[in-house]
Symmetry: C2
């Protein structure tokens, strides 16, 4: 895959400040950047967005809103939308929230209801909402939305507005027997808003922060990106890697590995 399709999430290089991310990404030929809300601690998002664009990077999105099963969901999502507008991100990635002390069924109903409440605000702000199904191992704590099929159903339950779509992360979905049809359907309906890439390594020793660089694991990346391309996806492939192992290494060399792996494995 050509580097013109490469975006990187700032969390991937967690040891760097967002400003360092911008500089290094631009130098390395990365074309898009996805900010994380933590990047705005002590920094104005509008300044951050301008800095990225001035460096030649497209601001591809903002991670993360959602968390609909938490008490602060309303204020938190309003702030996230404001930040998305300020940084110039066309979309906000939503991690929908786990079931915690609710049943999954209840949590899923709460997610649908609160998403419906948030949606008009997002549409009015011109910020698209990208539902990210998370791996079933996060159903309790992070997201009761766990498959692409569920994300499609949720879009449809809300009337399939053009501002609501799906972020497919290969880490969360590679195991799904319905992955390819789900991707194809999303792309055909202009609902495939984002594709996140990394790899699943074995053994996985930490549920959160033990992701692999593309090529280190068993995810058939080229098969998945081919499905995206066939269905007409034209956006960025976003590298999003949580990895204690990689975070402990020199980040410049790591970024070189990322661009190399992106070209070689996608």
């Amino acid at each position: 895959m050509d580097l013109s399709r490469l975006a990187v999430h700032t969390i991937t290089n967690r040891p760097w400040s967002p400003r360092e991310c911008i500089e290094h990404y631009a130098d390395a030929g990365v074309r898009g950047i996805t900010f994380w809300r933590r990047d705005f601690e002590g920094v104005e998002p509008d300044w951050m967005g301008k800095t990225a664009r001035d460096a030649g990077l497209a601001v591809n999105g903002l991670a993360r809103g959602g968390f609909f099963t938490s008490e602060e969901w309303w204020d938190d999502n309003r702030r996230a939308l404001d930040e998305a507008v300020a940084v110039g991100a066309p979309q906000l990635v939503l991690v929908c929230g786990g079931c915690h002390d609710k049943t999954l069924e209840t949590a899923r109903a709460v997610i649908a209801e609160r998403l419906a409440t948030l949606l008009p605000l997002a549409l009015a702000a011109g910020v698209k909402l990208a539902l990210e199904p998370l791996h079933p191992m996060y159903a309790a704590e992070r997201s009761a939305l766990n498959t692409i099929a569920q994300a499609h159903a949720l879009c449809e339950a809300l009337g399939s507005p053009s501002g609501l779509g799906i972020a497919v992360d290969v880490y969360h979905t590679w195991w799904d027997p319905n992955l390819e049809p789900g991707i194809e359907r999303a792309a055909q309906l202009n609902r495939l808003f984002a594709v996140h890439v990394c790899d699943w390594i074995t053994p996985t020793t930490d549920l959160l922060n033990d992701r692999g660089l593309m090529g280190e694991g068993c995810i058939p990346l080229r098969t998945i990106t081919a499905a995206c391309e066939r269905a007409g996806f034209g956006g960025f492939y976003e590298v999003e890697i949580f990895s204690n192992r990689w975070w402990a290494t020199p980040q410049e060399a790591y970024l070189s590995e990322i661009t190399r792996a992106f070209s070689a494995c996608l």
Copy 2:
């Protein structure tokens, strides 16, 4: 749930020898036992089966065969069938094998093909085969079969013989939006061979050995067992808990907790 429906997997009390399991289970009012193949190291399975039955326990099954993506799959499954016959287990639980260095698609095809080869032997031996879908977090290393829907499809691809069915483990499947319909369909088709219970705790700190006792986590056990009962399931609910935490405690007190939790939470 009445204790007459309680079976326990010997692995649940890993610190005990299988003979200690038999004695303590019988004393505690447990009615069924599921052996693990490791129980037969240095012990004849026919003697073990007789000892369990003499103590008043039904031998409910043998765990685990399958692992179709390993090189030793054929010899290993033949031995497992022999052991199931010898111990008097009516069914062998199959963990189908991960994708390892194959793609998931290839692994799934290999599983179907090798299962088809094994099936006639199992039918001839009078041992039922219970396909156990494993949680998607085990797709790489342990099982490319990850949902009840996939297990149904596999049964049907092989002609739906009466000796082939599904073991539903709540740990692996609780997140699945299609869990209840999958259970109901399995029970109605006499394909629900086994139900394994435990709980999903948060945070989960180990992908393998951090399961919870029923009631410690977020799995809606009563909702799930109600679905099983409604659909006509009349078998044991088998307690299968891998837990470093519980294994480090005195096992007699733990077994009391198991019977208490079984009555209280199912």
